[in-house]
Structures are given as C-alpha cells and as structure tokens.
Amino acid sequence: MSATMGGAGALRGARRGGEFVLQVALTLLGLLAVTFFIGRVVPIDPVLAVVGDQAPRDVYEAVRAELGLDQPLWMQFWLYVQKMAVGDFGTSLVTNRPVLDDIARVFPATLELATIATIIGVVLGVPMGIAGAVYQDRWPDQLVRVIGLVGYSVPIFWLGIMGLLVFYGILGWVSGPGRLGVFFEGIVDPVTGVILIDAAIAGEWEVFWNAVSHVVLPAAVLGYFSIAYIARMTRSFMLDQLSQEYVITARAKGLSEARIIWVHALKNISVQLITVIALSYARLLEGAVLTETVFAWPGLGRYLTTALLAADMNAVLGGTLVVGAVFVGLNLLSDALYKLMDPRAR
C-alpha cells in the first residue's frame, strides 16, 4: 500500500462513514424487528380490523392470506424488510392508503407543532432557568419553580381543554381545533405538508394567518411542558457553573454580572443544554396523542395510536421507523453541534 497521508485520511474517513451508516441501519433494523415481533404477539387480530366482526370464515381466510399472516413469522418479517428496502411500506389497514402517503400527511403536522412548541420552550425556558439559578431561593426562583411544578403536575389533556375553553370558547382570541378553518382547506396545495410554509410559498396570507391562529394554542400548551423541563435543567446546569472558580475569578476581575452569565457561563452549559433541548424536541416529534386529540390535530401521535389499537402493523412499523429516524437524526445534529461548541469534542 502506498497511500499518501491524505489518502489514508480519506480512507479512514470513508471507513468511519461506512461504519456509521451500518450502525444507523442496524439500529433501525433492530427497532423494526422488536416492533414487528411485539406487534405479532399482541392478542389483536388485524384481520378482524379489515373484515369486521361479522365476516364469514372464507372472507376472513382470504384476507389473512392477503396480509401474509399465514406465513411463518420470520418469513413475514423478511418479506416486509425486502419491500421496505425498495421504499414500499405497504398499505394501512385503517386508511386503505399507502403508509408513506399517510406519514407524509401526519408527520408535517406534528413537525409544525413540535417545532413551534420547542421554540417557545427554549425562548422562555432558558431565561427562566437562568433567572432561577441567579436568584436562587429568592422570588424569581420560587416563581420559576411553581411554574415548573404546575407544568409537571397538571395533565396536559386538562390544560388543553381549559386553554380551548378560555382562549377560543370565551375570549375568541384564537381559532378552534384543527389545523385550518374548514373553508380554508384545500386552497393551498401541499408542497412540504407544513401548512405555514406551504401557504407562505403560495403567497396565500389569509390561509397563513388562519393556520397561525390554529397552531398557537396547541403549540403553547405543548411548549409550556417544554418550558418546565428546559427551565429546570437550565437552572441546575447554571447553578453548577456559578460555583466554578472561573466565575469567581471573573467577578474579581470586575466583569459585569450579565456578561459572566450570558456569555461565559451560558457558553459552558450550551453543550448540555443542546442535549436537553434535542431530547425534548424528539419527544414532541413522536407526536403528542392527548394534545392532538383535544385539538383535533391530525398528527403522528394519533395516527400511531389508532394504528396500534387496530393492529395495523404496516402503519405502526412505518411510524416507528420515522420516530427512530428522528432520534437518530437529532443525535447526529447534537453531535455536530457539540463539535462546533466544544473544542475538546473535535
């Protein structure tokens, strides 16, 4: 081998890339396998979900064969993976449509909600956590703690209903459930599936603002729960930093308190914070069943739940794969951000 140094580097890079792809593929395959076999042992008969309770035996048997359920289990899984490899995720039993089409509809709805909720969570949660740490055991800290405690203890379902009652039912500040008013549906052709973006692309500002007034409340409700989590974590990271020696040194040198906190300390906790934010974002991207139910929001959470209850395995597996991919993707993203933020990680 007479590879140059650069060549060796590239080779190493390629190998690392290859290992990485393999790792991701294996992770997702493992996830699929576990989901698949769990799905096959639950005592729910997917055939009945298709043919109904009153179907005679021959129809039942025909559909069972159609779904491939008469094959041995490993064979079923193998066939499924083969199809999946060429992008065929099968058809949902419940909606009678390709699972990919379904997910292309429900995931953007969840993405929209989760993203706005996370932005709310970060924009409010981080400063609140910092305030809690800086004014430890004084009233700002107590206030943040109470807000956090409420966020942890109030059922989201109840908060959603109350929010609707007050802000939609009584005050009329926001639009009601759903993603759009019924008369705005179908005006904008889906490009990304995220209505806010699609409406902006199409220049349909009426539709855009209608969508905004629909998303505000559910995102705020979900965001509130993010705030509680992010604020609590930020506070404890910050407390940890404020007792470090460099802070004492900086104070002794006469740096302003604001600069110490918002520049030096925040920079040092940013890596941990990214992990926390990524985790809470990922959790929201799985879909929030209760919130989606209260707000009639057609997202991934409710889609997966409906599918699970009907033993609609194609839909469950497709949805699980999306959730898995989201986690892997966010892990990658936070790894990349670590490297940007923390020279030691390079």
Binding site: L48, L165, R302
Partner: protein, 535 residues
Amino acid sequence: MMPSLPKRALLTAGGAALAAAAMPGTREAQAQTPRTALVIAAQIDDLVALDPHHSFEVTGSDLLKNVYDQLFVLDPTKDTAELQPGIAESFTVSEDGKTYTFRIRQGVRFHSGNALTAADVVYSLRRPLMINRTPAFMFRSVGLTRDNVEQNVRQTGDFEVQVTFNQAYAPTLIQNLFTANIASVLDSRLVQQNAGDDMGNSWLNRNSAASGAYRLVRYQPNESYMLERNDQWWRGRANLQRVIVRHVPEAATQRLLLERGDVDVARNLTPTDITALRGRPNITLAEFPRGTIQYFSANLTFPLLQNPKVVEALKYLVDYDGIANNLLPGQVFPHQSFIPRAILGAVDTRPYTYDPDRARRLLAEAGHANGIALTIDTANSFPSLDVAQTLQASMARGGVRLEVLPATGAQVLAKFRARNHQLFIGIWGLGYPDPHYNADSFSSNPPGTDNPGKLTWRNGWDIPELTRRTESAMTERDQNARAAIYRQIQEEFMNTSPFAIFAQQQVQVAHRSNLRGYMASSPGLSAIYWLANKG
C-alpha cells in the same frame, strides 16, 4: 380524478365565516357557518372504506348514502322502514318466486355526466362478489356467488335487469337488501377507466363514481370529507350546497366548536355535554333511533352457565331502567328483543325487569344458594365498560360476584370469537334494514359447522328448530306472515336464549337551532344530509 372546486369559490362562498381570524389576537366575530353549507363535527376515524361494495361501518354509510343511489330506498321521512323505489323504478317476480325483473329508472345521470343504464346496474350487482370484501356475504346469503353471478344477474333490456336467486325469497327481504350500500349503482365506465387489477377497489376508496344527492369533492382519512351538491339529482336538488364533516375526536372539543358556531352539528357528545347544552339559546337537541342493540351474552360451553336457571337469573339482574335513564340517558331506550324497533317484525314487549330476589331464588333452585362468581369481558370504552360496571353493582345484589375484564375492542372480540369468555358485553349493528340480518346471527346456528361470525355459535347455543324457523322466515312471501314468524322467534328467544338484550341505541346530537331537517340517523341506517336546510 376527483373534481375539485375552483379554489377562490371556496373563499368567497365562506362569506361571514371568512372574516374570522385574519390575524392572531384579533377577536373573531361570533362565528357562523355559511347559510349554504352544513358543517359537522364527528368522529370519523373508523371510516375504513369509501368503496360502497367494501364499506361496512356506520360512518362510511353516512357518507355513501348521500353520495350513491341504491336500487331501493327506505323513506327517511317515515319512522318505520317504508320501502320506496330508487334506481329500480318497479319490479316483477316470476311465478316460482326466484327471478326478479327490475325496471331501471331512465334519465338518471352520474356525477361524471354519463347516463345510467341497465349495464351499470348489472356491473354494480356483480362487482361486490368479484371484489369479495366483507359485505359480499350479504349477497351470498341470498345464493349469489362469484361463480353464478354472471348467469344470475343479466341485462334483459336497455333499462331492464333480471336477477335469479337460489330460492323464492321474501320480496321484502330482497328489497331491504337492495337499499344497502352493497346495492349502490356505480358509474361503470368511470370505474373501468380508473380500475387497476382490483376492479377499482383502491381507486373507489379515495374517489366516487356515483349519481346521488351529493358528490364527493375531498376526503382525507382521519381528517375530513367534503361533499358538493349534485344539481342534476333525479329526486331534485338538495337544499344545502355543501356538506363538510370534520373529524374531531374529543367530545368536549366538539361541544366548544358548536357553542362557538363553527360547526352546525356536534355528533358525538357525552350525556354530560348534552345536559350542559340543554336549554341553551341557539342550540337544539335531537334524537334519532338507530338499528344498534346492546346486549350481554352467556357462554353455554362454560359448565356453570349450562343450567338455564342461572342464565335466567342473570336476566333478572340487569337494571334495565337504570341503564336507559341514568347511565345512558338519551343515548339508548329500553328494548329486549333482537330486532330493533321500526324494523319489520319487531316486538316491543319487555318481559324482564330488575328483580334481585327472584334471581336469588332461581340461583338457589339451581343449587347456588350462596351465589356464584363470573367474569365479564368488555371493550374498555364507552358505553360497554360503563354498562359492565353497572352490571357489577346490580348483579351483586342478587348474589352474582362479577369480575369485569376490560381490554381493547379487538382483544375482547378475539376472545369472544374463540369462545373463551364467560359473559360478554357487546353492541350489534344492523347491516341492512331487514329482520333476517339479525335473526341470522341471534336465532340461527346451522348444526355441524363452526360459525364464528354468528353470535349463537360464539355462545354455544344449539338451536336446530329455531334455525329452521329462521330459514323459513326468509322465504315467506307474505309480509304479514313473515312478520308473525319473526315475532314468534323473538318470543322464544327472550325466554330461552343466553342473551340479555337491554337497550337499543339512538343517536343524540346537538345542533344550531337554525338548522332543520338534518337527520343523524334514519331507517335506512345512515345520516341524511339532503333534507337539511337553514332557516
């Protein structure tokens, strides 16, 4: 392709409603749905199939009956099931009673503009057996099969179709069957243009090929569907131009939408919501009987339940009035036989009352003076679970210790079909508006075969004589004599069966008071949109 509306028309049609919420933070005017539209909040996530020869649930029927025409119709304006001509204008029956000749209505056009002819009817009557989805069993129950349907359903003129059955069935049975979605007449040319290798089954689950009151404009599973008026409908134009049904899973949310005036109808409210809305200005409550009954049954393959006295005791331990008046007020009314009220042959007698003392005596006679313990399987959802808990309390007073085993609907059903239950709480919907549909499952159990589709078999109820009588009722050509047979069967059923039927469901809705003529359910087992109007 599904025809789509001009997009701008939507915006202008909205009128007042569209002035709403232009900016977040601005206060909406008290919202009003447009005068020309009917907007409904409902739970529609159980809507599986839009192909009328594939669909088999009420939610689907609500849509399909307003989009497709069938050969016959049950008059929606009458309380009892009264047959009316539909696409079949009239019919004659041959001497031997097996061959029906249907005259097809002329001048009917499909939404596509194609003229409806006998060829479409023939195609539509053969197709259910060809695609062999769940409802196909309805046609098989009158002797039509995949193999014989080519010969037995024939075009005998431009507007004449002949159907030959394997027996001389009761004409009322055939007509009732031909009011069901399975007898929807499809635009055969349009279907064939779009058919893959499945006779258009997957295409029809997203689109429509129909001639009815409304045409399907948009359908998003688990979200909403929208119908647009068919101005050329042969019965005359519907009152309202557009119908929008939106999936709103949570009852409390439906109620808020209704109170704000963003929807005209809230379809799935709880008794609590209904109570809260009672007496509100601008809101009207309405009830519509539907052909669904609630029952619990005892598995006779379980030794303890083989003593008829034990089963009889159980029937006296149901708080019939309590369930109807306190537990499910407005959602059900008391009913004790398997043919729902308003269907041919239904009986209104209610031989059983809540009588714990009598039940104790019966149990003592059966050798269980110290009471018995049983389990009851139920879906973990409203109303079955709630009824199970009520039963637990009412049975305890008669010496029956009941353990409630809740599970998901699908799990419970699997257990029931495998005969692994002791008691089971169930809900049974009428598939087409004829007594035979229910009799086939409640009073017929052909010996020597496993019939997991039949409730009789699932409960191990062996009834050769009742099975024979149920079959004779199918072929009784005189309507009154036929009704009499069913009344007799039900009499015996109530006395001896392992079933305790305790209620018939009704749909209870709340709607805005300016809406009139909307029917959430009808004798034809579906919602009717075409009679609705706004004052």
